[in-house]
């Protein structure tokens, strides 16, 4: 893999993470448990989709294949998506959504903070802007983890179950592949080994305050970053891409 190819793969991964998670959150629109949280969730979704757009635009530039951001977002199939498995998992109930969000946000915050130091000016500038949004996302999801975990018996049980279910997807966030290794060496990519202990620290801190148990199993799911996805992504893309594929080239 050349450096340029690694860059494309990397940016595509970040874009796909933001895009798929943003889409999942948008599924809550109109279905939130309470008005204010419905708006909060869709605000976060909008932030993520906005990040996805910026990243897809840059990815299209890097690929030099004449594609647009829309081509990348709407015309690739499951095997070409590079998002981590965590973000394609279904929303489930509110606790499940919060567990997924927290596990992702804690990583994303540390990741973007490191990315502001990237030798790739485009990525460092993007990270500076995105960091402001993600700081709020982490605050939001952390507080909900605490409120539900250290809440009633029912909320505690649901939150613990949700954490147990989603835990096995957290490892993939920190397992570097060839793309990571190439770009970290160039000073472009984030050194995942460096931020992993900070992540563990943050997760432990929040779980303690939430009176939740950290799941014991250390076996982690992976494959998303290489294009091997769970069954869920197919259904997500079917919904997401249907209109563009049914009416190619359509415009508002």
């Amino acid at each position: 893999m050349t450096i340029k190819e690694a860059q494309f793969d990397y940016v595509l991964r970040l874009a796909d993470n933001a895009f798929i998670l943003g889409h999942r959150l948008s599924e809550w629109c109109g279905h939130g448990p309470i008005l204010e949280q419905d708006i909060a969730m869709t605000n976060i979704a909008l932030d993520l989709v906005g990040q996805a757009r910026a990243l897809y635009q840059y990815a299209a530039e890097l690929e030099e294949g004449g594609k647009t951001e829309d081509d990348l977002a709407f015309l690739r199939d499951v095997g070409e998506f590079r998002n981590v498995l965590l973000v394609e998992q279904p929303n489930g109930d509110w606790a499940c959504t919060i567990a997924r969000q927290f596990l992702f946000d804690a990583c994303n915050y540390l990741f973007y903070r490191e990315l502001t130091n990237s030798k790739d000016d485009h990525l460092s500038a993007f990270a500076e802007k995105a960091l402001k949004e993600v700081t709020y996302h982490l605050r939001f999801s952390s507080e909900w983890m605490i409120r539900l975990g250290d809440g009633t018996e029912v909320s505690h049980q649901k939150m613990q179950n949700a954490l147990n279910d989603r835990w096995m997807f957290s490892g993939e966030l920190f397992s570097p592949n060839e793309t990571d290794r190439i770009l970290t060496a160039e000073g472009i990519g984030v050194d995942l080994e460096k931020i992993k202990p900070l992540y563990n620290q943050k997760v432990t801190e929040i779980l303690n305050r939430a009176t939740l148990q950290k799941p014991k199993s250390s076996w982690m799911q992976k494959g998303g970053k290489e294009g091997r996805h769970t069954e869920h992504l197919g259904h997500v893309l079917a919904e997401l891409q249907f209109v563009q594929r049914a009416y190619p080239g359509l415009e508002w």
């Binding site: 008005l35 204010e36 708006i39 909060a40 605000n43 709020y136 605050r139 939001f140 507080e143």
Partner: protein, 94 residues
């Protein structure tokens, strides 16, 4: 019967503003959440840079029935208004 979270009144100060304006109300479980909900609901379109949230039952309001006794007397006492002074530009916002 479903119990609601407490109701909060929200006040926002815009970037160029000098005071917080009442923009509406929302439900939140506690003060932290009230600020976050206010941020999500009332500052989406860049409406402001500062949020005050007050539990609605901490606000005391005047009774409309008392309006006459409270406010009528002030109507015809123009000598109380500072309209006969010319304010220098330096103290425009006094």
């Amino acid at each position: 019967m479903k119990k609601n979270w407490p109701l909060w009144e929200v006040f926002i100060r815009s970037k160029s503003g000098l005071h917080h304006k009442h923009v509406g109300s929302l439900h939140a479980a506690d003060a932290e959440m009230a600020i976050e909900n206010a941020r999500d609901v009332y500052t989406r379109r860049n409406e402001g840079v500062s949020i005050w949230a007050v539990e609605s039952n901490n606000i005391t309001a005047s009774d409309p029935e008392d309006s006459n006794a409270l406010f009528e007397p002030a109507k015809d006492k123009i000598y109380r208004h500072p309209t006969f002074y010319k304010l220098p530009d330096e103290v425009k916002y006094i």
